[in-house]
């Protein structure tokens, strides 16, 4: 071999011919079907796989990132406001947006930030959630899911979590960042001492729209074969709900903000808002014009009844998830 000129490096063929290489016995690989004998029990929960797929699909959407980015702006603005406010002293009562009440100073800011985010959270719900089950209905995906070791409950939980985690993340992450900033900057001003439960409140308040939107949109999505229709229907419910509740309140209370607080909060958006108010313990102080005494007054508006808000929220969750569950249960894998 080594006497041959040029091309074959000396000893290369010896190596192969010697017969101790992986391909010695079968130079032509057998590429036909091989059996799989590897592990078949993952350490993660089954529903998490479904959620992960949903999340991956959601983050691919440009619209999601745009809406999320815009929805973070209020946090940046609040950050700026707090920074400016702590630098220059402001006379009490001058700025209606600044509530300096001890125990409410920061909570009210977080509440306002969440308030600004509401619309975008709704948009994200539509973007990410309207197709969550509707797209599957369109393509009969449930036939694939249910032929695997996955229960209908796993499927539903996975889908719900997919929407929930996105919405929760969009509210929770900037909230946490803001919290940490406040903690570092205003610790000396009694940040932790005056509002000890703020982080917990923020977490629960971030979860509130997520839970309600996820439940409702999942319900709508499950009953539709078209993501657009599901989204349109939910948007309809949301907006019309707001309009009807708002109009009813305006008629009954003639625009007097101090009255009919509960009635104002009976739509989906209202319930989310109301719950957030309760969680943050925010008492709104609005300047109004008192016609009798001819002066500007500060009106204290308590949050709407926690019981009612909770009940309504629970109703939304039960109806949304229940509807989805009903629809999914009806799917037959093998049709005659």
């Amino acid at each position: 071999m080594s006497e041959m000129s040029g091309h074959t490096p000396p000893g290369a063929l010896d190596f192969i011919v010697a017969g101790d290489t992986p391909t010695a016995g079968a130079p032509i690989a057998d590429l036909s079907y091989r059996n799989y004998d590897g592990p078949l029990h993952t350490r993660v929960a089954r529903w998490w796989i479904v959620s992960l797929a949903s999340l991956r699909l959601a983050v691919k959407k440009k619209g999601f990132w745009i809406a999320a980015a815009i929805s973070i702006l209020p946090y940046l603005i609040i950050l700026l406001q707090l920074y400016l406010q702590s630098g220059t002293p402001v006379p009490a009562g001058a700025n209606p947006l600044m509530d300096l009440t001890v125990g409410q100073r920061f909570a009210s800011q977080f509440f306002q930030a969440l308030g600004f985010q509401m619309f975008f959270l709704f948009i994200i719900t539509l973007l990410v959630g309207s197709g969550v089950i509707a797209a599957d209905n369109q393509s009969n995906a449930l036939l694939v899911y249910l032929s695997k070791p996955l229960t209908k409950g796993d499927y539903l939980l996975g889908k719900w979590m997919g929407v929930f985690l996105i919405l929760f993340g969009v509210a929770f992450i900037p909230g946490t960042i803001l919290y940490v900033f406040c903690l570092l900057s205003y610790y000396s001003e009694g940040f932790l001492k005056n509002e000890p439960w703020l982080f917990a409140r923020m977490t629960l308040a971030a979860a509130t729209p997520a839970v309600i939107h996820a439940s409702l949109i999942t319900g709508f999505s499950a009953w539709s074969k078209s993501p657009r229709v599901a989204g349109a229907l939910y948007a309809g419910l949301y907006f019309i709900g707001n309009i009807v509740v708002g109009a009813t309140w305006a008629i009954r209370h003639r625009g007097n903000l101090g009255e009919g607080v509960l009635e104002r909060h009976l739509s989906v958006e209202g319930v989310i808002n109301g719950l957030a108010q309760n969680l943050y313990g925010v008492v709104q102080k609005l300047p109004t014009y008192n016609q009798r005494t001819n002066t500007m007054e500060r009106l204290s508006i308590d949050p709407p009844s926690m019981m009612v808000m909770l009940l309504m929220a629970a109703a939304f969750v039960v109806v949304g998830v229940g509807a989805a569950r009903m629809r999914i249960r009806a799917v037959e894998i093998v049709k005659g």
Partner: protein, 304 residues
């Protein structure tokens, strides 16, 4: 060892009884499941997959109880449903890997297997394309791939050649034959297309009105009573028919120029006999072969 055993199964949907006191042993290998619409095939498959709570009786599949261990069963089997189905928004690789993960495979194994399985099913070229752009043939193949990905011990194929053109059907049947022979996978094929079953399956189970009408190896079932031949003549020839009858051969059926004959037992050289008779009667034979009962005849006899 049978792959599945069903004993005295009774299934009711509301007031309707779909199957009543059904018992069947599903053997290993490639089995064809046949039966008219409404015979209970669907119910049987649903039961074997663990989706049905029996009103009475029960059974097991791969050693797992069909009434209580549905999830474990679905981990060991692959289903290729009849309808078009896929997960939206994914390409073939992602879809196949996802199917594997849903079956319990770790993500890395699932991805590796996805590529392998897609290649095996002939989707190597198109694996990075969105499934929504696939043709019918490709959609059928991806359905097969997602059923195979986790290495199931039993495959259920429901009308696997649905919507495929002749070339596509040919390839799908070849795949089914390949995967069901020598790879350690049992396959149950449910189809109305009997030539498809003939080509791929070694055994058949024929159902009728919620019961088993007949069951057995295709080769055995196809054996005729006595020696039978199918003879193609160039033109129909009454002279030929008369001549063969004179030699103790019975004409069973005639369809144009095709004759089905029953030869006397112990005929050693059928060719000589036929050629001589044709020569005598002035007919021209264009082909003859041993006649087997067609699967269609077996089916029709079992269900009528």
């Amino acid at each position: 060892m049978p792959v599945a055993t069903i004993s005295n199964l009774t299934v009711r949907y509301g007031k309707k009884t779909a199957v009543s006191d059904l018992s069947v042993e599903v053997p290993e290998g490639c089995i064809g499941l046949l039966g008219p619409n409404g015979a209970g095939k669907t119910t049987l498959i649903k039961t074997l997959l663990g989706f049905v709570k029996p009103a009475a009786g029960g059974g097991n599949l791969l050693g797992l109880d069909v009434a209580t261990q549905g999830l474990a069963i679905r981990q060991k089997i692959g289903l290729m449903p009849e309808q078009d189905c896929h997960i939206p928004g994914m390409n073939a690789v992602t879809f196949a890997a996802y199917a594997g993960e849903l079956a319990g495979m770790p993500a890395k194994d699932a991805m590796r297997r996805a590529h392998e399985t897609l290649e095996y099913c002939g989707l190597g070229e198109a694996r990075y394309r969105n499934i929504e752009t696939y043709s019918t043939g490709m959609k059928q193949r991806i359905k097969l791939a997602q059923a195979l990905i986790h290495g199931p011990k039993l495959l259920f194929l429901d009308e696997p050649t649905n919507g495929l053109d002749p070339a596509g059907r040919d390839e799908m049947l070849r795949l089914i034959r390949d995967v069901s022979h020598g790879k350690g996978i049992n396959v149950i094929v449910s189809s109305h297309l009997l030539p498809d079953i003939e080509r791929t399956c070694d055994q058949v189970i024929v159902m009728r009105s919620g019961r088993i009408a007949t069951q057995g190896a295709v080769e055995t079932l196809r054996q005729t009573q006595g020696v039978q031949f199918e003879v193609d003549l160039r033109l129909p020839s009454p002279g030929f028919a008369i001549a063969v009858e004179g030699k103790g051969i019975k004409v069973l059926t005639q369809y144009g120029a095709k004759y089905r004959l029953s030869l006397p037992d112990g005929t050693v050289d059928a060719g000589r006999l036929l050629f001589e008779t044709a020569k005598e009667s002035g007919a021209q034979i264009r082909g003859f072969h041993t006649a087997l009962r067609s699967l269609e005849d077996i089916f029709l006899e079992a269900v009528e």
